[in-house]
């Protein structure tokens, strides 16, 4: 897919990123760039460092060296909540939602307003919030479950709820860690449809093993192996790369 004009600045530039856990380099001198409105899929065998890369970008793990620039901000120097406020949203591999709260409250907490202590105290549930929550709930197929405690949802519904929590944050960069893992076939279809709708107008970084799904959505694919880039390019290019076939797609 070719985009009409190439922006000079990348949305996300990861440069010479390295993280080592007790000497083991989970990510080793990694560099890649994500454009505005690009959908990038990261694939690779288990232990390649895919999730670690997302952890590094969203601030969950601190980099040993290297830099991550999101527009003009260096994410390696920022706290998790500041990174979120800068416009980076993250979905975790296992559904990570607030079990004790209702679906409505889960979405409301993710609504990007009143994020300071004082702001949260004086936050009011006005029409804007309610409308947005209802709008998102409809998108994630949970419109009639708004008053249900989140712990009572099915696994697939929890995944959708977390996607909805990201959606309501309206991030410029959306990071999804295996969004269709553990879902039934019908849930997968619905999720693919949902993702195709929400990835419009933002950049997306996805980790996924389902190759069919990857082919459907990816603009560009990055193959990681042992914390380094093995191959990068279009799906067509990557699929035919002998190195990739050997370590990953071959089996």
């Amino acid at each position: 897919m070719l985009i009409g004009h190439q922006p000079k600045e990348f949305l996300l530039s990861v440069e010479a990123l390295t993280v080592s856990f007790d000497g083991f380099k989970a990510v080793n001198d990694l560099s890649f760039y994500v454009d505005e409105n690009e959908i990038r899929v990261i694939i690779g065998p288990n232990g390649a460092g895919k999730t670690t890369v997302l952890d590094l970008i969203c601030g969950k793990t601190k980099a040993t060296s290297g830099s991550i620039h999101f527009r003009d901000k260096d994410l390696t120097k920022m706290k998790e909540n500041q990174i979120v406020q800068a416009g980076v949203g993250r979905k975790f591999q296992n559904p990570s939602i607030y079990d004790d709260l209702t679906v409505f409250e889960n979405l409301e907490i993710s609504f990007p307003r009143g994020r300071t202590v004082f702001g949260a105290l004086t936050f009011t549930r006005d029409a804007v919030v309610r409308d947005r929550v209802h709008e998102v709930a409809e998108m994630i197929f949970l419109k009639d479950r708004l008053n249900v405690k989140a712990e009572l949802l099915s696994h697939g519904q929890k995944q959708w709820l977390e996607i909805g929590m990201l959606l309501i944050q309206d991030p410029e960069l959306l990071m999804l860690d295996e969004p269709v893992a553990g879902m039934s076939v019908s849930e997968r279809v619905k999720t693919a449809e949902l993702l195709n709708r929400i990835i419009k107008g933002r950049s997306v970084l996805v980790i996924e093993h389902d190759m069919k799904f990857v082919e459907d959505i990816a603009h560009k694919v990055t193959v990681l192996h042992q914390g380094q880039i093995l191959s990068e390019g279009t799906m067509e290019h990557v699929k035919n790369d002998p190195k990739v076939i050997e370590v990953y797609l071959g089996h």
Partner: protein, 380 residues
């Protein structure tokens, strides 16, 4: 239903019942001595209320709330002590006009940090601000570094121990192990006679309800829901764009300020303040009150405090050496069998029956609807 009001109907009824109990029933049924005992118990209820916010909602177990109770109490006691140490009252001392314990410790002038406590306005501000700022410092130091759970509880214990040792050691400035005794008047108004005790009791109950409404407001604000969310999945809250540390610091400070107000009330109602309310043991007892009442319930914590203290008074009169075992056993029993305390028992067993009773008697219900249907129905 989803409402954003800070009390819903059943909570309002609960608060009204508590108000009737504290404002009407207890003063009518008890003599002044017993009522003053209730006033003393209620000072701990402030601490328990704070623990509901910080331990119940936010999951921060502080085993050092006595520190804040003590700081609030000492601030108030310093004001009262200064007033009781007028030059006329203390003319037999070698240095008249300073508190008696200073004179006994060969201190010849009032220390600088005591000076502002001549002013009641300053004292009231200090009751709130000194513990509040102290909690802010501890909270910032701990939560910004992501110290939590057991480690935090142990550190609060250490703080409680340190403060006790400091107070006991600096006898000339603090009154030492005896504390500050012989507090007499508040702005010339004698706080010792019976009628003053009754006025102070009602004043205290008033303050308690203000704190209850503040806790209710927090509980029903978005901040309250964020605290619950944090207890559950701290990381997710960070990735929803919130600074988890700031919210924990806030909850801890609220708990500290509530405890401090309780401490100040203690100095007024009981007429002294001593390090025995600051240390580790009283701090843990306060946690037990909250656990017994129900750490998730604002009203439960208050009933829990009253109940444990009534039991303590009556049992320790009859079986002084068995009482502590009883208290320990009670705590273990509550944690094992009823983790949500009295409020949990009420919510699980009593409340559903009452609801059923009310809705089955409600006019307009057609005869023949059985109570199990009515149980799920009353939504208005």
């Amino acid at each position: 239903m989803l409402t954003n009001r800070f009390v819903n109907r059943s909570e309002l009824i609960g608060i009204a019942v508590l108000a009737v109990f504290l404002v009407v029933i207890l003063p009518l049924c008890l003599d002044v001595f017993r009522l003053n005992l209730v006033a003393k118990y209620l000072t701990y209820a402030f601490v328990a209320l704070g623990l509901v916010v910080c331990w119940g909602y936010c999951g921060i177990l502080s085993l050092g709330q006595g520190v804040f109770f003590g700081l609030g109490g000492y601030c108030m006691a310093m004001f009262l002590k200064l007033e009781a140490s007028s030059p006329e009252n203390t003319k037999i001392q070698s240095t008249p006009g300073i508190p008696d314990f200073m004179d006994w410790n060969q201190i010849t002038s009032l220390p600088t940090f005591w000076q502002p406590f001549h002013s009641l306005t300053f004292t009231i501000a200090a009751v709130i601000l000194v513990p509040g700022i102290f909690a802010l410092i501890i909270g910032a130091a701990m939560f910004k570094r992501r110290v939590g759970g057991t480690y935090f509880a142990i550190i609060t214990q250490a703080v409680a121990a340190i403060l006790t040792i400091l107070i006991v050691g600096q006898q000339g400035y603090t009154g030492g192990i005896n504390g500050m005794t012989d507090l007499r008047t508040l702005k010339g108004w004698d706080i010792r006679p019976d009628h003053a005790k009754i006025v102070l009791y009602f004043f205290e109950v008033g303050c308690l309800f203000v704190c209850i409404f503040i806790a209710q407001f927090i509980r029903h604000s978005k901040l309250g829901r964020i605290l619950v969310a944090m207890r559950d999945k701290e990381d997710r809250v960070r990735f929803s764009g919130y600074s988890v540390a700031n919210f924990k610091i806030f909850a801890f400070c609220v708990a500290a300020v509530f405890a401090a107000i309780g401490g100040a009330m203690f100095a007024l109602n009981v007429g002294f303040m001593s390090p025995s309310f600051v240390g580790i043991v009283p701090s843990i007892e306060m946690v037990i009150y909250t656990a017994v009442g129900g750490r998730l319930s604002i009203l439960g914590a208050i009933y829990g405090t009253l109940l444990v203290n009534f039991a303590k008074t009556s049992l320790s009169e009859s079986f002084p050496e068995l009482w502590l075992f009883g208290l320990g056993g009670l705590f273990i029993a509550v944690v094992l069998a009823f983790p949500n305390g009295l409020a949990g028992i009420w919510g699980d067993y009593v409340q559903p029956r009452i609801d059923r009773l009310i809705s089955s008697r409600k006019p307009g219900w057609t005869a023949g609807i059985d109570s199990s249907v009515a149980d799920g129905a009353p939504a208005e």
